[in-house]
């Protein structure tokens, strides 16, 4: 059997299976999209005067 048709058959679980996968994917994609859009400009200075002294 072709891999493509096998993959289609594997997803024959119905709406519940599609939603089980789609829901978390949408949450993850939304979080990433917001994080990308809201990132601060590279040259913006931190507005507090106690930066971390070390990386870890």
């Amino acid at each position: 059997m072709l891999l493509a048709s096998e993959v289609v058959q594997m997803h024959a679980g119905g709406w519940d299976e599609m939603l089980a996968v789609l829901g978390p994917v949408i949450v993850v994609a939304a979080l990433i999209a917001v994080a990308r859009r809201a990132r601060p400009p590279e040259d913006e200075e931190d507005d507090e005067d106690e930066p971390p002294t070390t990386a870890v």
């Binding site: 096998e6 993959v7 058959q9 594997m10 997803h11 024959a12 679980g13 519940d16 299976e17 939603l19 089980a20 996968v21 829901g23 978390p24 949450v27 993850v28 979080l31 990433i32 917001v34 994080a35 990308r36 809201a38 990132r39 601060p40 590279e42 913006e44 931190d46 507005d47 507090e48 930066p51 971390p52 002294t53 070390t54 990386a55 870890v56």
Partner: protein, 431 residues
């Protein structure tokens, strides 16, 4: 017909899969919202935290007699395992050595480390034998050079761990007593000789198993404070104690990826892929799958850190901090959660073979746990691990992200946690 995402496989979940997935993702999101509201300054104190235990306990633990007994027990156990594996029956159904290694040692010591802290360091027979060999070598052994060990950046540990995981998860005859004997013997000889040559720091930085059990032990409520006192502490404080850096981050990602691969190989999809393959092709497929899964898990982490990077505050000299090891400690509870979820029932059932094969001809009792209990432990371990991960990542984020962006700056790590949670539950539900 084979169904993707494990819906067609054996399912232990007492609730529908979609409900488990949504509830778990929601638990992670709600815990994130709760900590962003209630936890606005760094609270974890690492090695400074902990309530001192009665000093008599510390004296007993640190007594030379206790240490000597533990070391002797470690060496005796190693000799028994190696002897049984080499000279016992040739099948794992008659020889207990593979069960001792894969269940009692590899999984059982996770439980012991979680309960009592880094016990394996005290028992480690390779450390003991390496120290003895160094004493015998005397002045012929080179001067200890800790910088040289540090320059190796955990590469020997990564190599040793990958070899063990490949044996366990890919090699078709992984339960063969002789395969186990060969691995344990070669591993032991390499580390005893290297430990004798380079000194005790070798085991801290290069012995895969000592590093693994030390990472797990960071989640133990028992630990050492900065003043070396034995203390009872918040396990989240323990996560901050110990080495950090790109090397140990890679060790955690390797372990996380291998557990994910182990879950994937139990899906019907994987069995179908392997069905008609020759032994060599199956090994090639398994090796590729293991490497790709570790790479995918690592890339997901690297991607989340890459997205977090613009939100990091600059250090005092104006440079950006090294980002990849900043959040690695938050992966430790996730790694432990996956381990418990994947190996809990295996340890309870297969672990019985370790003494049944020695003391009697009884059968493994599969009724000691119901499938409902197993499923509850699996879900609790994965979700609990991720919630602890969210909290520890948040505590770090509060101190290292730009003040105006603390919440949104955590979204990439939160997305990673949600993704890991969902994949973890999909895998245990389909296994």
């Amino acid at each position: 017909m084979i169904l993707a995402h494990g819906l067609g496989g054996r399912s232990d979940l007492p609730v529908p899969l979609w409900l488990a997935l949504y509830a778990a993702a929601l638990a992670v999101l709600v815990s994130f919202v709760a900590v962003t509201v209630l936890w606005t300054t760094p609270r974890l104190r690492g090695a400074d935290a902990g309530v001192g235990l009665p000093s008599i306990l510390g004296k007993v633990v640190d007594a030379k007699f206790t240490r000597t007994v533990l070391r002797a027990l470690g060496v005796i156990a190693l000799l028994i395992v190696v002897g049984t594996a080499w000279f016992g029956p040739g099948s794992s159904s008659d020889n207990p050595a593979p069960t001792w290694v894969y269940v009692w040692f590899w999984v059982g010591l996770v439980a012991v480390s979680l309960a009592f802290g880094p016990v394996y360091r005290l028992v480690n027979p390779l450390r003991t034998l390496g120290g003895m060999l160094r004493t015998i070598l005397g002045s012929r052994a080179p001067t200890i050079d800790d910088e040289l060990i540090d320059r190796l950046r955990y590469r020997p540990a990564l190599t040793g761990m990958f070899a063990f995981l490949w044996l366990e998860l890919v090699y078709p005859a992984s339960d063969s007593p002789h395969a186990v004997a060969l691995f344990v013997t070669v591993y032991a000889v390499v580390h005893i000789v290297a430990g004798a040559w380079f000194g005790p720091r070798w085991f801290e930085r290069c012995d895969s198993f000592e590093i693994y059990f030390e990472l797990v032990a960071r989640l133990s409520p028992l630990g050492r404070r900065k003043d070396r006192a034995l203390v009872l502490r918040n396990p989240l404080d323990g996560l901050l104690v110990g080495s950090a850096g790109p090397g140990v981050t890679a060790v955690v990602l390797l372990l996380l990826g291998s557990t994910t691969f182990d879950g994937a190989t139990r899906l019907p999809f994987w069995s179908d892929l392997r069905r008609d393959l020759s032994r060599t092709a199956a090994i090639a497929l398994g090796t590729t799958g293991l490497i790709l899964t570790i790479a995918a898990v690592s890339l997901a982490y690297a991607g989340a850190i890459w997205l977090t990077r613009p939100y990091l505050r600059k250090t005092v000299d104006g440079s950006a901090p090294e980002p990849y090891s900043l959040f690695f400690h938050s992966l430790i509870p996730i790694m432990v959660g996956y381990t418990v979820a994947h190996y809990f029932s295996f340890a309870v059932f297969q672990g019985q073979a370790g003494y049944l094969l020695v003391f009697g001809d009884g059968r493994i009792d599969y009724t000691v746990l119901s499938t409902g209990v197993i499923a509850a432990v699996q879900i609790a371990a994965i979700v609990g691990g991720h919630i602890l991960g969210v909290i520890s990542a948040h505590d770090r984020a509060v101190s290292i992200l730009r003040p105006g962006y603390v919440k949104v700056g955590q979204y990439p790590m939160l997305a990673l946690m949600v993704a890991y949670t969902v994949v973890g539950i999909e895998l245990v539900s389909g296994a």
